[in-house]
């Protein structure tokens, strides 16, 4: 006769084993079609135990400047997204039922529409004779068409439109968790609304802000389709160099080295912002 404690432990262990058996196919998939290929690629970069490919990447000014440009673009996209997303998230969190439903639809429909479709639409909108330039000219706001396509402006506009929902949604989720009674209490104690917002609501929403920033920065750093189509070859991001190395030059070890750099920078930034987020969460708790 086993004691009840022992049999419960046994049942617990059987439960764990059953759960693990449940998850095994998915973990195998992640191992075989994700972890192993990525690690295999990374190992190509140090083939033969030499770091020559990393040296090439570090010494050739082109690659360093493209990585720098990619970081700058990612930072700019993140900053613009934050400035645009916060008012939207705040408005959504205070909107009524119908307003919130409509707003979420206007946010989620573009979010789930193919990046390619949206990028194509920007090609139509931003060209010399595109919709935007035509409208601005018809309204008498400009004389000559603005250069909006095949340059940095086009890339930024397209990327911000694609990545904006990734910023709005976490901030919105964080704002929903903030008890509106808190800012009401601050106003009841005599704080003007803007101060109640700045001192009470805004700090409590910072977890969402940093989650959104981490996501947008990381996604834009590795972005490919939008800069490739809207940059017109004049804006080069590191993902485009990686593609070129594989497709045109078949230089796998060098592509692998560039991938390793991109992956390292991505993980480092994600980890860094994640750490700030967790710190914020502890404070909020």
């Amino acid at each position: 006769m086993s004691s009840p404690g022992a049999s419960r432990r046994l049942a617990g262990r059987r439960r764990e084993l059953a759960l693990l058996a449940f998850a095994t196919p998915a973990l195998l998939l992640l191992g075989v079609v994700f972890a192993w290929p990525v690690l295999r690629l990374l190992s190509l970069s140090v083939e033969g135990g030499s770091l020559e490919h990393f040296e090439k990447a570090a010494l050739d000014g082109l690659y360093v400047s493209v990585l720098g440009d990619s970081l700058k673009i990612a930072a700019a996209v993140t900053a613009i997204c934050l400035v645009l997303a916060y008012p939207v998230a705040f408005w959504l969190s205070r909107a009524g039922r119908i307003g919130a439903a409509l707003g979420l639809f206007a946010l989620l429909l573009p979010f789930w529409t193919s990046v390619l479709v949206r990028t194509y639409a920007w090609l139509v909108l931003l060209g010399r004779n595109g919709v935007v330039n035509r409208a601005l000219r018809d309204w008498g706001l400009i004389e000559a068409p603005l250069p909006l396509l095949h340059n940095m402006a086009g890339v930024l506009i397209g990327m911000v439109q694609v990545l904006l929902p990734y910023m709005v949604l976490p901030i919105y989720a964080a704002l929903l968790r903030v008890d509106p009674d808190l800012s009401r209490a601050a106003e009841g104690l005599g704080a003007p609304p803007w101060r109640a917002f700045l001192r009470v609501t805004f700090p409590l929403s910072l977890t969402g802000v940093s989650a959104g920033c981490a996501l947008v920065f990381v996604l834009s750093l590795g972005f490919f389709i939008t800069p490739a189509l809207l940059g017109g070859g004049r804006v080069v991001m590191i993902s485009m160099l990686i593609e070129q190395q594989v497709r045109e030059f078949l230089d796998w070890p060098f592509a692998a080295a560039l991938s390793a750099v991109l992956l390292l920078v991505t993980l480092a930034i994600y980890g860094l912002i994640g750490r700030i987020t967790r710190g914020g969460r502890l404070e909020a708790a």
Partner: protein
Amino acid sequence: MRRHRRISFGRILLGLVAGLVFAFLMLPLLVVFPISLSSASYLQFPPPGLSWQWYLRYLDDPSWIEATLRSVKVAALCTVLAMGLGVPLAFFLVRSRLPGIRLLDRLTAAPIIVPTIVLSIALYGVFARLQLIGEWYGIAVAHSVLALPFVVILVGAGLRTFDEAQEQAAAGLGARWPAILWRVTLPQLRPSLVSAAFLAFISSFDELVIAMFLSGAEMTLPKKMFDNIMMEIDPTIAAVSVLQILLVGLCLGLASLFGRGVLTTTMTR
């Protein structure tokens, strides 16, 4: 009185800014509708007249239809794989008390963080060796890795709000585990399951970067569109885009009617 007016002024300003940003988000979606109905023979805005010619051209061109069917097949298999493997994985990640569970949680979310271009060329190398380039099921398997995190996050969120005492009650009444899962747990998770399936389908149907490397000459719809945009911008793409937008709108509508938690796909955990 004065204070009241200032609040409402701030509210109007906020509403105005939010409205402009919503307009910016919707603008690219809205602009393709009139272009797709253009009667001009090349890209012209505003269109000089209306016609269905670009939709007809899409329907009459076997290569567009083939690409569309291939994408539907890929997305369907991807959905089956992501659901079939992701739902059990979500149970494991939510309920297991193994010490390494946090690490596996991270591994599951990793396909979102790792840049798609890196994953694409990594898979390209492996698939080329296995001679899987151009095979539609290869793309589906690769896409299921990207869809898996969506499924796990949505279903996991549903599972966390599920009261496990119901399963214990069913077990106490003599039900066996498969029956409990099938008759008690899964029916209550249905909203999360529906959302997860729709989003897995769309995420694969829209995916371009992986398909670019793995599809070879056997193009998926996004790959065919990409090539077409690079060659010539004719309004056929606008017609295809409209159909895609309508499909996504339909999926979103259905998911919000029958599903739950479409919002939680923002990876905010």
